[in-house]
């Protein structure tokens, strides 16, 4: 059983993702603000983090959280899960995964099909660390 930390300001969405994680036999906890993330990770290190990008505090807070997490836990798998468009305008996708700019392991766009989400979570927990898996 793995421990997953979900960082998302949308409680309904985060709860639905947590439900999927739990149904997969994992433990899932939710953090609703970017600021809480690092202390929670320091308190108890998760096996993977599922991270949103846009928060009411800062539209790009997810990027900074990902960079901070990478600095403190270089091996921690991070799945970026966001309603930000993968395409234009100002979109980003797998192509933009970058050790400095977007240091995440994988990237999925909301709305997400739960079959896809389950597959990505499973891959995140078993895949080679820190590598993009398109």
């Amino acid at each position: 059983m793995a421990y997953l930390l979900i960082v998302d300001d949308d409680a309904d969405f985060a709860n639905a993702v947590a439900t999927v994680c739990r149904a997969m036999g994992h433990e899932a906890q939710i953090v609703s603000t970017p600021g809480e993330t690092l202390p929670r990770v320091a308190e108890r290190r998760p096996d993977a983090v599922i991270l949103d990008v846009m928060f009411p505090e800062d539209p790009a807070a997810g990027f900074q959280v990902a960079r901070d997490l990478r600095r403190h836990a270089p091996d921690l798998p991070i799945l970026m899960l966001t309603a930000v468009n993968q395409q234009f305008p100002l979109g980003f996708s797998h192509r933009d995964i970058d050790p400095k700019w977007l240091p995440v392991t994988d990237f999925v766009e909301k709305p997400v099909d739960f079959a896809v989400l389950r597959e990505r979570i499973a891959r995140l927990l078993t895949g080679p660390r820190g590598e993009a898996q398109p």
């Binding site: 949308d10 309904d12 969405f13 639905a16 993702v17 439900t19 999927v20 149904a23 846009m54 539209p59 966001t82 309603a83 930000v84 468009n85 993968q86 395409q87 234009f88 305008p89 100002l90 979109g91 996708s93 797998h94 192509r95 909301k110 709305p111 997400v112 099909d113 739960f114 079959a115 896809v116 398109p134």
Partner: protein, 506 residues
């Protein structure tokens, strides 16, 4: 009540300043923004002056060389001592090397402002050297006073009117001093004329002033005209730079706003969709079949609405950006297609639609996001209007011939489009009756986006279709460089019953 607290904390105040109007009649931009704009211009000018100065060094060396063969200057009534121009050329060259170094370094961090000092040093040393050369050539040389005009005019172009007037003053002072020194006998008179100084006669003080004052008047008139003209041009240029800055800022702001809007509109649907999947996946207990059907419809409508929002925003953004299109970059079309197919494959698989790809490396010039959007919309369109269990074939290949370019085809074997409806399929929200019957949820914006992107990329769109047999979209990207590649291996089309070519700038 709460008097102590009220007096301790200043009252909160919020002021919404009106957006300043654009340049027409507006006060000139502040000094800081002017400095930021003018510094690179000054640096470019300082470097340019250095380049021009090498010409002068060259001319002086030629004059010195001609002095080595006295017969040559003597033929035009001159007598040249080679030492003078050679030494002057050497001094000028040494100074110029130093000026070049300083002009280039002046743009570096922490060196801001020193570019003016470099320019002043260049002008001052030029004027001193010019005065020395004019003294050597002789006071009776008719072009002497005009030589200073180059520096006065250049100063008017790069400096403020006050500063260029100071340059004029410096030139007048140096020229006057040299003439006065000769007229008072402080310096021996010099000339390059063969007749020698004896025939010249030294100017009296009265002749000195009679020569200097009209010259100063001419310089003054030229300074006034050029500095006024330069100031007007500089103000216009500054206003233009400010307008450009504002345009860029507003474009950036709009893109940020678009991103926020996309997120704000899509996020609730993502949450609703996630919750329907909690229901449909049985995570909240088994649902009776009628309830499953309702939850499934909610999920479908959520996805459709989410995509519609995305497409409306994309199209609005594409159109508003038409004047400031993002820069085109060399990209491999095959890589983009592969990525899009990878992303869309799960959705196609749900309808048992196979995505067949035959992709050759095909270099194109396009904006990466735009190209992804174009390919994505064409493949989504093909999948949407295919029958369940069908096949969508995607090919890309470089165009043969020296012009280069690339060709993308997306072929489905779905419902097809009647010939008379083909010219309208790229219109906003246009959907044929057959399309609506086949898929009610589609937005009718996907092909409008395709057309907009093709236009921005300079690509040509072609569509071939036969009702009931399917549709083939072809995008022909223009070539930037000649490509030497094998001929494309495009599958031959079954006799199309209709064909519609759509130039990108329709």
């Amino acid at each position: 009540m709460n008097g102590a607290a009220d007096s301790a904390a200043p009252p909160a105040r919020y002021r919404l300043a009106p957006v300043p109007e654009a340049p027409a009649g507006a006060p000139p931009p502040d000094a800081a923004s002017e400095a930021a704009w003018i510094e690179p211009v000054l640096r470019a000018n300082a470097v340019w002056f250095c380049q021009l100065r090498w010409l002068v060094v060259g001319v002086l060396l030629v004059v010195a060389a001609s002095g080595l063969v006295p017969a040559l200057p003597a033929a035009v009534g001159l007598r040249i001592q080679p030492l003078w121009p050679a030494v002057t050329a050497g001094v000028l060259a040494a100074l110029n090397l130093e000026f070049m170094r300083r002009s280039r370094a002046a743009g570096g961090p922490g060196a801001r402002g020193s570019i003016r000092a470099v320019l002043w040093a260049q002008i001052a040393s030029d004027l001193v050297i010019l005065t020395a050369v004019i003294y050597w050539v002789g006071p009776d040389w008719p072009a002497a006073s005009f030589m200073y005009l180059f520096h006065i005019i250049l100063a008017c172009l790069v400096f403020s009117p006050g500063q260029s007037l100071a340059v004029l003053g410096l030139a007048a002072g140096l020229y006057g001093l040299s003439l006065w020194s000769v007229s008072r006998g402080w310096l021996p008179a010099s000339t390059i004329r063969l007749e020698g100084t004896g025939s010249l006669g030294l100017p009296t003080p009265g002749q000195f002033w009679a020569g200097l004052v009209p010259m100063l008047l001419v310089w003054g008139v030229i300074w006034y005209l050029v500095s006024r003209l330069a100031a007007t041009l500089r103000r216009r240029e500054l206003e233009l730079a400010e307008t450009n800055r504002r345009l860029a800022a507003s474009s950036e702001e709009r893109a940020q706003h678009m991103l926020q809007t996309t997120h704000q509109l899509k996020a609730p649907f993502a949450a609703i969709h996630a919750m329907t999947q909690v229901l449909l996946g049985g995570y909240a207990g088994e649902l009776p079949p009628p309830a499953r059907e309702v939850a499934g419809k909610i999920a479908d409508r959520c996805l459709a609405l989410s995509r519609q929002i995305q497409e409306m925003l994309q199209l609005a953004n594409l159109r508003s950006r038409a004047q400031t299109a993002p820069p085109l970059r060399p990209l491999d079309l095959a890589g983009v297609v592969r990525e899009v197919l990878g992303r869309l494959e799960p959705a196609a698989r749900q309808r048992r639609i196979r995505l067949d790809a035959a992709l050759q490396p095909a270099p194109v010039q396009a904006a990466p996001d735009h190209l992804t959007m174009l390919v994505d919309n064409l493949v989504v369109n093909a999948v949407t209007y295919s029958h369940d269990g069908g096949v969508v074939e995607v090919t890309c290949a470089p165009e043969p011939g020296p012009a280069g370019g690339a060709r993308l085809t997306v072929r489905d074997h779905g419902i097809g489009i009647a010939a008379e409806k083909l010219p309208r399929i790229f219109d906003d929200y246009y959907r044929t009756e057959e399309a609506v019957a086949h898929n009610r949820a589609s937005t009718g914006l996907g092909l409008a986006i395709v057309r907009q992107v093709a236009r921005a990329t300079g690509a040509t769109l072609e569509v071939e279709s036969a009702p009931g047999r399917g549709t083939t979209f072809t995008v022909i990207f223009p070539g930037a460089h000649p490509v030497t590649a094998p001929a494309p291996n495009t599958p031959s089309a079954a006799q199309p019953q209709s064909h519609h070519g759509l130039p990108a700038d329709r």
